[in-house]
Amino acid sequence: MSPDMWGLLIDAFWETMYMVLVSTALATLIGLPLGVILTVTRANHILPNMPINSVLGAIVNAARSTPFIILMVAIIPLTRLIVGSSIGTTAAIVPLTISAAPFIARIIESSLLEIDPGVVEAAQAMGASPMQIIRKVLLPEAMHSIVLGITLAIISLIGYSAMAGALGGGGLGDLAIRYGYQRFRLDIMIITVVVLIVMVQAMQSLGDYLSAKLNKNKL
């Protein structure tokens, strides 16, 4: 492989990292409050509210059932409005964020539901407000499980980012398609896939490590 090719590979790697990490951060910013609301508005939780819970649940489900490639095309106007263009690495962040946010919301919800209701009851008995329970009980107690969930989201986003690449988003997926597939460069195809595998492995190991550090249940 020529030095030019290596240069392309390195650029593509950083583009993928940029897309995945920025969209994970944004999706978490949106998904976290959504997940918290989905949890606390459940019938037996601290702020039961069936209408909000069902409406929000339906929206999340709808967003999650739309195939990514369709979502990406469908929201092109929105992407243009936010980024100013519908093509490019930054533009790819919009659909990636929108598809990951409901996923993260559900992940946060299931992490929060794992918490022993007795602990929440104890906080209520001490006079904690719902906001204090969320900030001081639910989120810290679930943090190790949330970290694992977000790791899962990052890895799914690495896959989606390859798809986004096909629609002009850049990154490793784009490189694999344009050079590896369309120009029959098997070596580039293989290297790209290897880089992706290593990325996923590294993310998973990092997530496992952080989660284990945060988990004080087993010491």
Binding site: D116, G118, V119, E121, A122, A123, Q124, A125, M126, G127, A128, S129, Q132, K136, V137, P140, E141, M143, H144, L214, K216, N217, K218, L219
Partner: protein, 345 residues
Amino acid sequence: MITLENVEKTYYSKAGNIAALKPTSLKVEQGEIFGIIGLSGAGKSTLVRCINMLERPTGGRVTVDGQEMTAMTETELRQARQHIGMIFQHFNLLASRTVRQNIAFPLEIQGKDKTFIDKKVSEMLDLVQLEDRGDYHPSQLSGGQKQRVGIARALASDPKVLLCDEATSALDPATTKSILSLLKEINEKLNLTIVMITHQMEVVKQICDRVAVIEDGVIVEQGRMIDVFINPKHPTTKAFTAAVTNAELPEMVQKMRLTEAYQPGAKMITRISFIGDVAGEPIISGMVKKFAVDVSILYGNIDQLKDTAYGTLILEVSGDEAAIRAAHDYLNERQVRMEVIGYES
């Protein structure tokens, strides 16, 4: 300190309504340890949760320290709860926090400053004898230690009342004892009112001043713990007390062929129970000296009901008819509870 007036709780559902607590009235005095005993499903958990409104009663009034809990808004209620401590069967500590941080939790909620919190937490660790465990996480502690942290956390905000929800049910007997003596010590030292719900009669026996027996959402009997133990009236109460006061006759006595009426030459089998100071009186030697009877002890047991000694003896009294009758009357006149089990010929 705590008054419940016709408090009731019904759960409404499509499958039918469940009356977990039928209209119940109760009064807990300042500084006493009040036990509520019942089998699982009797409604005792609901009852204790109605005191701090974790369960909102569907009827009646709850007053704690002069404040009517049932009339409060959510905000007022949160304020009031900060003065009512609670401990739980499964401790309910925050796994992600250290022991110190767990004890600090209620104070953080109240917005106390860091210096105050640090000082108070150290004081509490001292009180529950966990000075060297402050930086541990709950998962590194034994059950008894976890409950001590629970107690420290509940007391950190200087509550007027402590509610204990099956606080010792998940602990082994030795640990149960040490937690109970800690609670008793705190009750005496801080003059703290304690309400305990439990299904263990041992718990009531060791520390309660008064007790209520609950069954199917109804309080079937209540009174001073000693009275309830010595003279239980309701069948459920009898079943509870029998296990710890040895009200059942020992096998050896059960196997005897006894008659209800005196027959010439028979021996009298009698059970006497005594509480407190009477235990020190030489009743039996007095009887033997006074009347021409012989006494042998078939069975004896001395127990402790909180701070009061409580003893039971089963005696076999032999002699001629007149002497036995005289001995019978003599025992009956003492400050003891006496019952004739039967006569053995």
